[in-house]
Symmetry: C5
Subunit: 301 residues, 5 copies
């Protein structure tokens, strides 16, 4: 995730980091060149047929409709991913509270809370293909970490270990029925969050929208120069470039937000959120807490 | 569900799989032909009356309003279906956790979790008319499967079997009141999800919207050529074809997403989600898990 | 609720059932006649002042804004009504499950589940002024039905009977505290759903929106012909009729969806949903279940 | 809240009750006069500079954006207020059910349910500055009512009385732990609803939006006549009046809905909803119930 | 938060407090000057190339799309922040109710409720960098306050103190299992709210949107004068200034609402909400309550 203050008036056109201009530069240049070719053809060679700007207005409206819809849907996905991870942070803290209220056995607390951290690191590995072996081993030790990492559904294996532990605590009368119920309810929050993230990971926006949006954007930019001949004159390449910037830019932004776990610059900062959880767990266990992760070169991973 | 990476710049116009062009090709060709006829009539035979492009702009706005609304509503249905199934996956995993915490009797766990799989397969059969006999039989055995499949409300029969089992476990003191309460709460998630899916299955978008959208789209495409005579010139058939692509395309996409369980290419991948549940259940029961379903020819069923 | 497959290309303009054309035909004809009068006045009698089509574009935008907002709000109401009833179906099934898990006394199950059916029929009567005496009597018997039907708040009386029964079951030790809590929680779902439906029934969209929308639509159609004189020529009556179809059509659709319980063609199929509940209750009680209600002449009540 | 059937075709322009025309009449007349002045200046005195209608289209779009956003936000506030009050009605009924299931002591039921009515009347007084002394006294008696009314946070004082009573019931073994838990959960619904209503009461839409909307609307109406000179001719004052009606009308409607508790004509009918609760409580206590409140002159308070 | 009544017709253009005009005045003046330069160049020096106003309409539409989306997203953030704090107020009141119902030990009530106030003040300090030492010390005393303030995650430390206290109450048999469960459930509301606010604090809208919006707004204002040459004449600088007001104004408003905790004029009034909680706690503990905070110079902190 990119974290930057709002740029000053003069910086706005200079910032490249966090801008989508580099990715869509070929499209912008291509649109300007195509407009220039049409303009020169018309001026130098022979009369080129026109389309009225009103016609382009109708297409522009449809294009806005598509882009607007896709943008809203993609942003909702991104924000939902952030919400789920925010809720996970809260659930880790509540889990620690409830362990203190209902269990009050430091060893069990430690087992459960470190396994919850293992769950989150493994889940981060599942979502972003990060290598999380070191993180998992750091918290639960090598012996416990290996079978987890080897499991088909590694995050789930960590939760299974916790539910087994809760069973044992209950059999050893360390928790009563109320504690069992409360902790089981909290534990159920994590598969729910995991399933939510898996949904965002495995179910992108319907592919047909991507096709519709990209195709319409290309068609729009192909036809636009014929509409600009009469209505923009020598501004034509500039206007075509601005139009390409606006429409391809939005299409590209949308494409990045659609996959909130894929890209480290545009995506949700999973490593930083896992660190936040680690701090909370250390606080609860009375251990020294690591530092927060800070953005590097404006990017928080 | 179609799963594809974003196509490269050159592929965008070539992809047919996942595109709605084949379905609406007659409309695109028809619109272009009609525009050509009007154009030729005007140029060759005699002056044809005009409509100003501004008038079409007003209609285009209304059409966008209709299409945009219907598109949002259809996408919401599709996404809600995916959310419900994602929650079902989470509930299966939580059910397994809670059985371990509260019951810890392998035989009961096995009965309940395999019947939950039967419920999901039967529900998939209810939603998509898939033949699920083999899947149900595979998990609960022929003797238990037959009465379920024969039931009027087959998925519900599977849940009834589970609630009967929970009653017996409680009578045999295998679970206490807390376990009974926790497992009953989890079990109630499944009828809720089933009713949600039945709602999406049996209650489409109000029919009157379909009529309004299709009629307005046809009227728009019928009138458009008279507006293009002055404002698009020889581009007329091309512009009419693009307009038909854009408007009929969106109407068609919407129509497919509206029914998230009907079509295997556009719909929710129920078979793959059931498989995900099977893997989770196998993990919980300590059985070898089957492989995930992978997309075939970009389509995940 | 109208249930129809998407019409084929040729049927789209022929379907009347489920169309709003009949209701707004006077408006469409009126708009076309008024446009014809203005056109003839201009052509035959004397020059008529013009409004530029750009001005109408600004009004068209505002009108779209009003209609779009009102349409979204009305559809949300309709869909919320369907959601509430879908949740009621799920709650009936969960109630049956929980009675089996916690109570396991057939007589009590029967009393409670048939009274839940009575509640839903009485609530349907409250919402849609259906005569539900026969349905209520059929399920709970005449003796129990009469005081319910006579009550000021009949559906609530049915729920009161259930809560009294739960009290007695608890006093007779047929359910323990856990069962009492679980069943009381489920029972609280029904007043919540009832209050939601009463909200949709008694609180329509603010009246001022209806005035604003209808007045603006009429003003738009009154002024439109003066804008079409130059921009549509002899197409004028046709264009005015299409505009009237589009704008009055959406206003009318919205008006119907706004009241999800008023109209049997546009509204929620309460009878069919009550039947679904009856089937679930019969399944739970081991009685033979009635058949689903099927649409008659495409209309499901 | 205004309750009226949809007016017939002929009534639409005659209804004043529930219309916002009276409030914005000065603006409509002002806009028409200003347009007339500009028109006469141009025709009689000297050429006046023009703005093209296309420019106004761009402003009109922005204005629609502002008005549309503010309208959605205001309607959401109004509807949320109605939802909260609807949920309160449901919670009162569920409270009565749960008292019957868990407590079954008529005296306690009476104390709690009448204090819940007192809470709602006091909350209504807090929201709408109604004088509720008589209502509160009627239900809980003068002795109990005086300290409540004198409290800084009067509605909260009523809830405190209930929680003290629940404590006493628990100490007297009239309710067990399950009942205590169930009734405490229900009781927590009321502070949540109260805080929701307080949020709507004390946090209006950001003031800056009001400024932006009103300023842009005035600027639009000031500039419009210069754009209409060429594009509306002698229709100019009429068109300006219609534009003022549309834009000021929506701004005014929004302003009224934004404060769902301020105005009796546009706001939520709190008195009628409190009466609905009174009826439910009387039913639960076996007392004769008062009549529903009916709209007076189409207005339900 | 600015609290003002709707201004009268004459005040609308005079209010500066709460207006965004001061912040964007350089942009408005710059746009007007640039338009004047282009106009004078065209009139005095030589013919300047034109862009048709239709082209600007297409850009205006895109710009509206961007601004509209960003505005909705920012307002949703602001409103969500207010909702979370409103829920916190309700949770404090419910916590007090539940302590009375389940615990009834004045000393414990006092400890827990004052620590909840400390939590909220510390959380306010975390969100808005307010100095909260005095507030925390006032409620829990210096001895308890210092370790809280020194903690890495200060608000969490306050909650940890409460969960430790609940454990002790349970060990001392001051609360039974039901009370333990109920109070633990309530206590879990606060980490959830804290995580929600942290999400709003640390995750702004994606930076790329800001770039896209500001860049497009600047490009629009740069190109607009060339479009106004023919369509606005001598109104050109005025129209350019109005356009700058509208577009930069909305961009600036959005920027302020996006950070609901940053600014005291535009943000959520955290101090006033903490005071509301203090009053509720004092009421519950039978202490004299402080006064509500009132807006100073229309600003409520």
């Amino acid at each position: 995730m990119i974290l930057r203050d709002t740029p000053s008036r003069w910086e706005i056109f200079l910032i490249l980091n966090g801008s989508i201009v580099p990715q869509i530069l070929p499209n912008i240049i291509g649109a300007a060149m195509w407009a220039l070719i049409v303009l020169l053809l018309d001026q130098m060679v022979s009369w080129v047929p026109r389309i009225s700007i009103g016609v382009m207005g109708v297409f522009g409206l449809s294009l806005s409709l598509f882009l607007g819809f896709r943008n809203n849907a993609a942003y909702d996905r991104w924000w939902e991913a952030r919400k789920i991870w925010g809720k996970m942070v809260a659930d880790v803290r509540s889990f620690a509270q409830e362990l203190r209220i209902f269990a009050n056995s430091h060893e069990d607390e430690e087992f459960i809370l470190t396994h919850i951290l293992a769950f989150h690191h493994l889940h981060r590995g599942q979502l972003r293909r990060d290598d999380v072996r070191n993180d998992v081993t750091h918290w639960v030790g090598t012996d416990a970490a290996e079978p987890l990492i080897a499991d088909v559904n590694a995050p789930n294996a960590a939760l299974r270990a916790i539910s087994g532990r809760l069973r044992k605590m209950s059999e050893a009368r360390k928790i009563d029925g109320f504690g069992q119920k409360a902790l089981a309810e909290r534990l159920a929050c994590f598969p729910a969050a995991q399933a939510g993230n898996e949904r965002l990971l495995t179910t992108p926006l319907p592919f047909v929208y991507s096709l519709l949006v990209w195709r319409t954007t290309y068609l729009y930019c192909l036809l636009l120069p014929f509409a600009l001949l009469d209505s923009a004159g020598w501004f034509e390449p500039l206007v075509a470039a601005v139009a390409a910037y606006v429409f391809f830019g939005l299409a590209q932004v949308t494409h990045e937000l659609e996959h909130p776990f894929r890209d480290k610059a545009a995506g949700i900062p999973l490593s930083a959120l896992c660190r936040t959880m680690e701090i909370s767990v250390c606080n609860a266990l009375g251990r020294p807490a690591p530092d927060r992760l800070e953005p590097v070169n404006y990017i928080l991973e």
